[in-house]
């Protein structure tokens, strides 16, 4: 395993939960965390690029060109520039998830919580997909916890 892979191991954690109450409690206990969740959609009338850009523009008062460049760099890192100009209804599950994740990490938050990835990636081998994605974004976040239910634990052990 390379350096990037070892770094990711240190930063990524799969939190296996017994039920919804435990999930809610964990989210409430970490108000500093940025949540990536099915229940927190993208802005429907903004493109993927704008959804990422607007966070930078609003929170750091960045110029639009500069914010666009940062958002584009992130999309390039994960290989999803093709969906940059598309809006939420025209995105695949994977593209939508990538947009939500990039929107969440664009300001390098201390903790990213990926809430029940199975809901957001129903047609994907998501443990593998997440690993690949987070590896590509290495260094853009402090910690990332994947919140999933105990009964999905075997999925994370597979080598696929």
């Amino acid at each position: 395993m390379g350096d990037a892979g070892e770094n990711l191991l240190a930063r990524k954690r799969v939190v296996l939960l017994a039920g919804d109450a435990q999930r809610r409690q964990l989210i409430d206990e970490h108000p500093e965390a940025v949540l990536v969740s099915e229940s927190l959609p993208l802005r429907a009338n903004l493109s993927v690029l704008e959804n990422i850009t607007v966070v930078l523009q609003f929170r750091t008062n960045t110029y639009i060109g500069e914010a666009n460049d940062s958002a584009w760099t992130l999309l390039s890192k994960v290989g999803h520039t093709a969906c940059a100009e598309r809006r939420d209804p025209d995105l695949s599950y994977e593209e939508r998830f990538v947009a939500k994740l990039l929107r969440a990490i664009v300001l390098a938050p201390p903790l990213v919580l990926i809430d029940r990835p199975a809901q957001m990636l129903p047609d994907t081998n998501y443990p593998y997909f997440l690993n690949k994605l987070l590896l590509a974004l290495e260094g853009r976040f402090e910690k990332c916890w994947i919140l999933d239910y105990e009964w999905n634990a075997p999925l994370y052990n597979s080598r696929a």
């Binding site: 229940s39 927190l40 429907a44 607007v54 966070v55 523009q57 609003f58 960045t62 110029y63 969440a104």
Partner: protein, 266 residues
């Protein structure tokens, strides 16, 4: 007796709901006023939304709407002008034109058009944002939806109503000059026309006109936003929200117009 009690109960609950809905609208009006006047509301992201709102509300429709307002103005000028000519009441006709067309009809017509076009769109968009949890999602990533999505629409919408009204008034005054003074050999001169404008559009009239237009602009954005924000998170409530917002907006525009008329003429 119990039927009467049930009926009164139903009416009372309806009245209470109506009252609390207006209470929410006024609550949001106050929040919006404070937000719009606060410099901390504005940054690079919010300014982009203001620009987009002005583009979609005013700039995009400017040629078509100005043309329609011009045709409408020609119609009114011709009706009033020909009647005045028949009875020799040139000056009164001119005064009536400026009072009715410039001070009353054009500002109200502009506000109603923007209410139908932009107000309905804003109401629908905010209701859908509420229903689909987009507002909450923005808050979770550290974006204040009031500052980014709602207040810029209020500013953009209000500026658009003011700008379109101003354009329509200038076009109407120019057409009045053209049709009444230049094309018809009346006894009135350009000097009479200028004096009449000065007489009718004096400072108090101008203050009332622009205060009323400002209130129209504020209403056509604030009421739909407030109604959208109060939509329950169920998709089938979206059309109900727009319906209520538009009725409330129409009622408010009429109240503003009536209040302005009362100030000027009573």
């Amino acid at each position: 007796m119990s039927a009467l009690h049930a009926w009164l109960n139903l009416r009372g609950r309806g009245f209470s709901d109506w009252l609390s809905a207006w209470g929410r609208v006024f609550g949001f009006v106050m929040t919006a006023l404070v937000g719009v006047l606060s410099p901390s509301t504005y940054n690079k992201a919010t300014r982009v939304v203001v620009q987009k709102q002005i583009y979609f509300t005013a700039w995009q429709i400017l040629p078509g709407f100005a043309f329609f307002a011009a045709l409408f103005s020609i119609l009114i000028i011709e009706i009033v002008g020909s009647t005045a000519r028949k009875y020799g009441l040139y000056e009164q006709g001119l005064e009536l034109l400026i009072r009715i067309l410039v001070l009353e009809i054009l500002p109200l017509m502009t506000a109603l058009f923007i209410a139908l076009r932009t107000g309905a769109a804003i109401n629908t968009e905010v209701a859908l944002m509420k229903i689909q949890n987009e507002l909450d999602a923005m808050q979770r990533i550290g974006i204040d939806p009031l500052r980014l999505e709602l207040l810029p629409r209020v500013v953009g919408g209000t500026v658009s109503v003011l700008a379109l009204t101003a354009v329509n008034i200038v076009v109407a005054l120019w057409l009045t000059q053209l049709l009444i003074i230049d094309f018809h050999p009346w006894t009135l001169t350009t000097g009479d026309f200028t004096r009449m404008i000065g007489k009718v559009l004096d400072l108090p009239a101008l203050i009332v006109l622009w205060s009323k237009t400002l209130a129209f602009g504020f209403a056509v954005t604030v009421i739909p936003i407030s109604e959208g924000l109060n939509t329950p998170q169920k998709l089938f409530h979206a059309p109900i929200s727009v319906l209520r917002g538009m009725v409330r907006l129409f009622f408010s525009l009429m109240v503003i117009e009536a209040a302005a008329l009362t100030i000027v003429y009573v």
